[in-house]
């Protein structure tokens, strides 16, 4: 059985809809997924593939995604493309959405959105929308039915809190520690929509992870401070033989240390890093006591923990083509990016002008800024010199995007291995 293809026979019942931004800009389109409306921050991503990964990435929580690539949905959906247990983005804004099923039998993209209650528009002039956001900045907005008045729509938009100052990590992180022993356990967790703590498989997983913590097993045990971690991060670590325990980011430091993990991963996640002081506090308490590595929001939180500030970018970095230079080695990686906030170097500087690592004295000792984005020279990485802690702003795990930076996970595992040996 094939799902119906909207581009073949949908004509008679086209439902019109529109995107409205809080500054009044309106972009018309045709509703093509769930018959619903959504508000949030309207952002754009320039990745040309990986729509399902983006949609299920918790870092997109509270946002509507405008895809700059016109054809979205070309190859359907697949269970293996999930970055979490569910979609987090609130709406899809597309130029030419398609609903073909995947060659391997997965659901069509629009059916996938529809069955998850997510509204979407197609035939939107997304380039005009992106050019507007590029000059006016990312802002709140929504997807509305043509029947909804602009006035009503503006009221709905106004009811949505702005992104600055917003803690969204709390909405996307695990509610209690979650051990994951291997890839199969992770996929089971993702498939079950995250509601499977009681399942027997999880108990086994739990048992094995605890056993690891007591010194058995092969690979390292890595703790994840969850602020909305992407499955690709977990998959990469598990594939390298690690076992994992995910902790809600508010978990007390001593509790995490007590479980015996050999390294702590500071996860990616949505929202304003300035609005998660609890996580920053935990990180401060853990620096020097366990090797730390941060990704994306984790990078911002680590930076805040050592006393740096963060700021909101005008329209963020979302794509799979940003060049990032490692200032220590001179190597450039093409990176996957998804962040609306960035770290200020000292003295309020948004840009790293020089092509060498910038050393800083922080409240927690010496540190240096190690990576720079070659598009706008914003900060993309940091490391502490007096403690095993480092982070990158971009997404070395890809999902979607290029694999240039997968080597970072080897470094994380090496950190963990190092501390494991030390512990013996």
């Amino acid at each position: 059985m094939r799902a119906a293809r909207p581009h073949e026979d949908q004509q008679p019942s086209e439902q019109h809809g529109y995107v409205l931004l809080e500054d009044g800009a309106r972009f018309d389109g045709i509703a093509c997924a769930a018959p619903a409306e959504a508000v949030g921050e309207v952002v754009f991503t320039t990745t040309m593939s990986g729509y399902q990964e983006s949609f299920s990435d918790p870092s997109f929580a509270g946002q509507l995604i405008a895809f700059t690539y016109p054809h979205i949905g070309n190859y359907g959906t697949a269970a293996g493309a999930m970055e979490s247990t569910r979609p987090w983005a609130r709406g899809a804004i597309m130029r030419a959405a398609r609903n073909l099923p995947a060659a391997q039998g997965g659901e069509g993209w629009l059916d996938w959105l529809r069955s998850r209650g997510i509204p979407a528009l197609t035939d939107v002039d997304t380039r005009a929308l992106v050019r507007h956001i590029r000059s006016a900045g990312a802002m709140r907005g929504g997807i509305f039915s043509a029947a909804t008045s602009e006035q009503r729509a503006q009221e709905l938009i106004a009811a949505e809190p702005p992104m600055s100052g917003r803690n969204l990590a709390t909405e996307v992180c695990v509610s209690e520690p979650l051990p994951i022993a291997d890839l199969a356990a992770l996929e089971a967790h993702l498939c079950a929509g995250g509601a499977s703590r009681e399942r027997r498989g999880e108990e086994v997983s739990d048992e094995r992870v605890r056993a690891r913590a007591r010194g058995g097993g092969e690979g390292p045990l890595i703790a994840v401070l969850d602020t909305g971690v992407k499955a690709s991060i977990l998959r990469t670590l598990l594939a390298a033989g690690a076992s994992l325990i995910l902790y809600p980011y508010s978990t007390p430091a001593e509790e995490i240390l007590a479980d015996g993990a050999e390294a702590l991963l500071l996860a990616n996640g949505p929202g304003d890093p300035g609005a998660v002081p609890e996580a920053v506090e935990r990180i401060r308490a853990l620096i020097g006591r366990i090797p730390l590595f941060g990704i994306c929001l984790g990078h911002q939180l680590l930076c805040r923990a050592i006393g740096l500030e963060t700021f909101k970018l005008p329209f963020g970095h979302r794509g799979a083509n940003h060049p990032v230079k490692d200032l220590r080695s001179g190597r450039i990686a093409i990176t996957s990016q998804n962040h609306g906030f960035a770290v200020l170097a000292c003295a309020g500087a948004e840009r790293l002008e020089r092509d060498e690592p910038l050393e800083l004295q922080t409240e927690l000792g010496a540190a240096r800024l190690t990576h720079v984005n070659l598009y706008d020279r914003t900060i993309e990485g940091v490391e502490l010199l007096d403690a095993p802690a480092a982070a990158v702003q971009y997404h070395p795990e890809a999902g979607p995007g290029p694999h240039d930076s997968l080597y970072i996970f080897e470094e994380i595992l090496a950190l963990a291995e190092g501390s494991r040996k030390d512990a013996r």
Partner: protein
């Protein structure tokens, strides 16, 4: 890392002749490289045999050698110039093979010339199938199962293990030449035998068939710091089995999930590293099984390619330009992205549109050629279209093809069409769309074509509801490399249909001139016209205006965003062009003279819409094109023209033919490159032609008396309505009757006396004034029994403009453009001595390049229908040496003394053939001939071996050719037709790369060249000369030339011209 300071002088090799599989894209890449390296302060030495290129403009290099791309000639250039480095990655397979040959001969080491861009071992690894396979295995990458064989027996044995079908590919050939798909043992034997012949190392690769798998290409770049990235992904809509040059392709890829695409990307980067390309661009091809997600590496090219030119135009990322900078030590992050101006080149472009490339075929020109598409490239050109959706881009690409005749499929049954689409052919997409219009569903088309259902879904939608794809308003958007993430500085636009009519065009600041390009390359309209369009754009800018270019050919320099102030990548239809013009608010006028027939066809429509045309007006164009009006003009002026008539039905044509007299040339009206022209000798032949061509279809039929054994002359001139300046007078080597585009020609004429030349000059002046030409004029004459006849006049740029410009050292198209913008010829400072003859110190020969070796089954006989794809130029102090160089440049060098020549001519040619045989015998040639010719030769007292006609048995010429015993063939036609002896002989000559002269004058020239080479001694290195020296010398030597003149000439050459040596 900044640029290397240890290098001073860099030698660049061009790609030479334009052939199927290697076309104008290498002019685009080579021209970019020359510009970049000169701007970096390097001294650039260029060798390229093709005069119709922008890269061989003398302003682009410090020393430009238009010489054959042979090891001898390049070695001679190296001896003279002593470059520090050789950059071989921008001139296609030709340059790469030549660089390899020079390196392996030890010459580069001896002369301390460093190979930059790709080292010898990297070239060898990419090109040698076995080394490549080993490198892939080491990198852990999978390839199709395969075997390399050097004999037919080996091939048959290996096939047992590999299974059929097998893909057969000869090593080291261009565009997959000589390969094919073997479905059974007979086909295998045939294709392998041919493949072993055409492979320069007699090696053929047998590959596991991946027919029906998806075909993907990634364009990869790498710098000296080992930073590597993918510029663009290209998906072939036609699955594996059709050469990518013949496939409809789309960028970016559409059907792979991110996970699968990233695996492909990882592998592409692994390939460039494994092969060892340290700096520059490469193209990596993959086959992907959509069901199993299995990925196989097919091949890689360690150089810029047709696909990289396409990728550059598709993304705005100029691969060749950046590759040239990487080759001299820059890293990607040090090179700015021109388009944004603020971001570095170390990124991967993000597209927010879809690009479709569509091939352009010319099978109608090659009766008998196998029209099925396979792994052996057959298209002669391509178009690119950009749209916001695949359907928009595809519809635009269909329009851009500019087919002379769109396939009428309405009368074919659905069953026939379903059968037809199973075999890839030129009209397959037209058939698929027709099937969808009739209600076919995607599954039944997918089952027959293996085309991905996503594409079929889009095509079905396009066929069923074409208006849906173009809903909204037409507006123009930028190609900006970044999906609008950053503002773009470079004005490179495409039209699309959107809900918001938001144009992104940067408005003109000055008066604007629109130049209409030539569209897809095809037979009769090639790179020469793009050369003229580029010159027009450059001149418009030099003259203080803004230049706007409209074109849809991705292979060209004209569609480089650097060439004009604003580039619109659009089809050249009246509607598309008018839509652009509507948005150009400061329009001074439109130039239609330079892009061949394509823009000329639009002239009347533009004029009617009130658009000002610059230069020669519509009235003059019509006067020249309308036979009766033109004939009346010639009568008034007192010039002769061959008798002619026109008719609109077969009966009328047959009746009027009697008045014109036989032999005559017959053709339909408004043709390009002699489309569907033929010489007929009898009423029966005429009737046959008219029936075959469907004479009532194309409107008028023209009948022209054919002047047998006349000398044909081509003239390119410049006129400002009052004054006419003769640029070049060229004598054809072949007699009238061979299309001027296929004929070799020589400047200055080698056998016309001064009196006739003066007659030609005055006739040209009179015709130019009579027509009211403002700009360029080409006139063709025939000198018959000492009398001058005017054959035709074309008030536009001709195919020979670049050749003439390079021969005389004056850029004709630029001069014409200035005249069209209002300057007077008197103000241009053109030399008044020897008008039309060049400087006098050298002789220039243009030779046509014919594609017969690519199109198996077609006859290599020349006739009034143009069939060449390109041209080369030979420059020397005398005609024979220049002719020999042109032959070498065309890839069929003349043999030296002591070889064997086969002669078979018509009765009329027998006497003259005897004399040629005598000369060849005196040089020690062994002579072979068929009965009649042998008798004529024997009568001269020359020993000759008589061969049988092919049907008569052994020994015959085919056997001798197969055994490699013949190195020169002189064969004049006694009638064309499949399987005549002549056809078999010419086919064998083409297959074995033996010079085959099909007209007696060409044969005489060849013999003179061989004699001359023997006299001067073949051991001596060929004498080479650069254009800069040539014209500097002539500037000094020409009487009447002054410092002031030289300055004016350099003003004409433009600001890019180098200081005089």
């Amino acid at each position: 890392m900044p640029r290397r300071r240890d290098l001073r002088k860099i030698l660049i090799l061009g790609s030479g002749l334009i052939v199927i599989g290697q076309a104008a894209e290498f002019d685009y890449s080579g021209a970019q490289a020359c510009r970049v390296l000169r701007s970096e302060g390097y001294e650039v030495v260029l060798v390229n045999s093709n005069p119709a290129t922008i890269m061989t403009d003398p302003e682009l290099a410090d020393r430009t050698y238009i010489e054959p791309l042979t090891a001898d000639a390049v070695a001679a250039v190296i001896e003279r110039e002593r470059p520090d480095a050789l950059l071989p990655t921008l001139g296609g397979q030709t340059a790469l093979n030549l660089a390899k040959e020079l390196a392996e001969s030890g010459l580069l080491d001896q002369r301390s010339v460093e190979l930059i861009g790709a080292r010898l071992d990297a070239i060898a690894t990419a090109e040698d199938r076995e080394l490549f396979r080993e490198a892939m295995a080491r990198a852990g990458l999978a390839m199709p199962r395969s075997a390399v064989v050097s004999t037919l027996a080996q091939a048959l044995a290996e096939a047992e293990g590999l299974g059929l079908p097998l893909i057969v590919r000869p090593a080291f050939t261009l565009g997959g030449r000589g390969g094919g798909i073997a479905r059974d043992r007979d086909e295998l034997a045939e294709i392998v035998a041919h493949g072993l012949e055409v492979s320069p190392i007699s090696q053929v690769l047998l590959d596991q068939s991946v027919l029906g798998w998806g075909e993907f290409e990634l364009e990869v770049m790498r710098d000296a710091n080992d930073n590597a990235l993918v510029v663009c992904s290209i998906e072939n809509v036609d699955p594996m089995g059709v050469h990518t040059g013949d496939s409809v392709t789309v960028a970016p890829q559409q059907t792979l999930s991110d996970r699968l695409y990233q695996r492909l990307r990882d592998q592409a980067l692994a390939v460039i590293r494994a092969v060892g390309v340290e700096t520059g661009g490469s193209n990596v091809q993959f086959a992907v099984n959509p069901a199993s997600e299995e990925i196989l590496v097919i091949e890689m090219n360690p150089r810029v390619s047709r696909s990289s030119a396409l990728a550059s135009k598709a993304t705005g990322f100029p691969i060749a330009k950046i590759a040239a900078r990487l080759a001299v030590g820059y890293t990607l992050e040090e090179i700015p992205n021109d388009i944004t101006g603020v971001t570095p080149a170390s990124f991967e472009p993000a597209l927010d549109y879809v690009v479709v490339k569509f091939p352009r075929f010319a099978f109608e020109k090659f009766p008998g050629a196998d029209e099925r598409l396979s792994t052996h490239m057959k298209s002669v050109g391509e178009v690119m279209a950009i749209g916001r959706t695949f359907a928009q881009a595809f519809a635009k690409a269909l329009r851009s093809r500019e087919l002379d005749r769109v396939a009428d499929l309405s009368e074919r049954s659905t069953e026939q069409l379903l059968g037809a689409i199973a075999v890839p052919h030129a009209e397959r997409y037209d058939a698929i769309l027709e099937l969808f219009r009739r209600g076919a569903d995607c599954a039944e088309v997918a089952q027959r074509t293996a085309i991905n259902e996503w594409f079929l879904g889009e095509l079905r939608m396009l066929a069923r509801d074409p208006r849906r794809a173009q809903r909204g308003a037409r507006c123009y958007r930028s190609v900006d490399t970044c999906a609008a993430e950053f503002p773009a500085r470079t004005p490179y636009y495409y039209s699309c249909f959107e809900q918001r009519a938001e144009d992104e065009i940067i408005p003109a600041e000055r008066s604007t001139v629109v130049v209409l390009g030539a569209g897809p390359n095809r037979i009769g309209q090639g790179i020469e016209f793009d050369y003229c369009c580029v010159h027009a754009a450059l001149t418009v800018r030099e003259c203080g205006r803004e230049a706007v270019m409209i074109n849809c050919n991705p292979e060209t320099v004209s569609t480089d965003y650097d060439t004009s102030d604003r580039l619109y990548f659009e089809p050249l239809t009246l509607e598309d062009v008018l839509a652009v013009i509507e948005r150009e608010r400061r329009l001074e006028g439109v130039i239609v003279q330079f892009g061949g027939q394509t823009p000329l066809r639009l002239a009347a429509g533009l004029d009617a819409a009130g658009v000002p045309l610059l230069g020669t007006g519509v009235e003059a164009i019509d006067l020249a094109e309308d036979r009766s009006r033109f004939s009346a003009l010639l009568g008034e002026l007192g010039y002769k023209a061959p008798a002619y008539a026109s008719a609109s039905s077969i009966e009328e044509a047959l009746e009027r033919a009697q008045a014109v007299g036989f032999p005559l040339i017959v053709r339909p009206s408004y043709v390009l490159g002699g489309r569907a022209m033929e010489i007929v000798y009898t009423p029966e032949q005429l009737a046959g032609y008219l029936r075959r061509e469907g004479a009532d279809r194309s409107g008028r039929i023209y009948l022209d008396r054919f002047l047998e054994r006349a000398i044909e002359v081509d003239v390119d001139a410049l006129c400002d309505r009052e004054q006419t300046w003769i640029g070049g007078i060229m004598q054809h080597v072949e007699e009238a009757g061979v299309h001027s585009g296929d004929s070799a020609c020589v400047l200055p004429p080698h056998s016309l006396d001064e009196g006739m030349i003066e007659q030609i000059r005055s006739a040209t002046r009179a015709i130019a004034r009579g027509l009211g030409v403002v700009g360029l004029l080409n006139v063709q004459y025939a000198v018959h029994d000492g009398e001058l006849h005017v054959i035709e006049a074309n008030p536009r740029a001709s195919r020979t403009v670049p050749f003439v410009s390079k021969a005389i050292g004056i850029p004709l198209a630029k001069a014409a453009c200035r005249v069209m913008l209002g300057e007077r010829i008197a103000e241009l400072g053109l030399p008044t001595e020897r008008e039309g003859l060049g400087g006098g110190s050298h002789v220039f020969v243009k030779e046509a390049v014919l594609p017969f070796d690519r199109l198996q089954g077609s006859d290599s006989l020349l006739g009034p229908e143009m069939r060449s794809t390109g041209e080369v130029m030979g420059i020397a102090r005398d005609f024979p040496s220049a002719f020999a160089k042109a032959q070498a440049g065309a890839g069929v060098p003349l043999p030296g003394p002591g070889a064997a020549a086969f002669i078979s001519v018509t009765d009329a040619d027998k006497e003259a053939a005897g004399a040629l045989a005598q000369s060849l015998h005196d040089l020690g040639f062994k002579l072979l001939a068929t009965r009649g010719t042998a008798a004529a030769i024997a009568r001269m007292g020359v020993p000759v071996t008589r061969l049988q006609k092919i049907a008569e048995g052994t020994p015959n010429v085919l056997e001798c050719v197969e055994r490699g015993e013949v190195s020169l063939i002189i064969n004049t036609p006694s009638g064309s037709g499949a399987r005549s002896d002549g056809w078999e002989i010419r086919r064998a000559a083409v297959a074995h790369g033996i010079p085959c002269l099909t007209t007696l004058p060409a044969a005489a020239s060849a013999v003179r060249a061989i004699v001359s080479a023997c006299v001067s001694g073949r051991e001596r290195a060929p004498e080479v000369v650069s254009l800069q020296e040539l014209h500097a010398d002539e500037g000094r030597c020409a009487p009447g030339s002054s410092q002031a003149h030289a300055q004016e000439r350099s003003a004409l050459l433009g600001s890019g011209s180098p200081p005089a040596h």
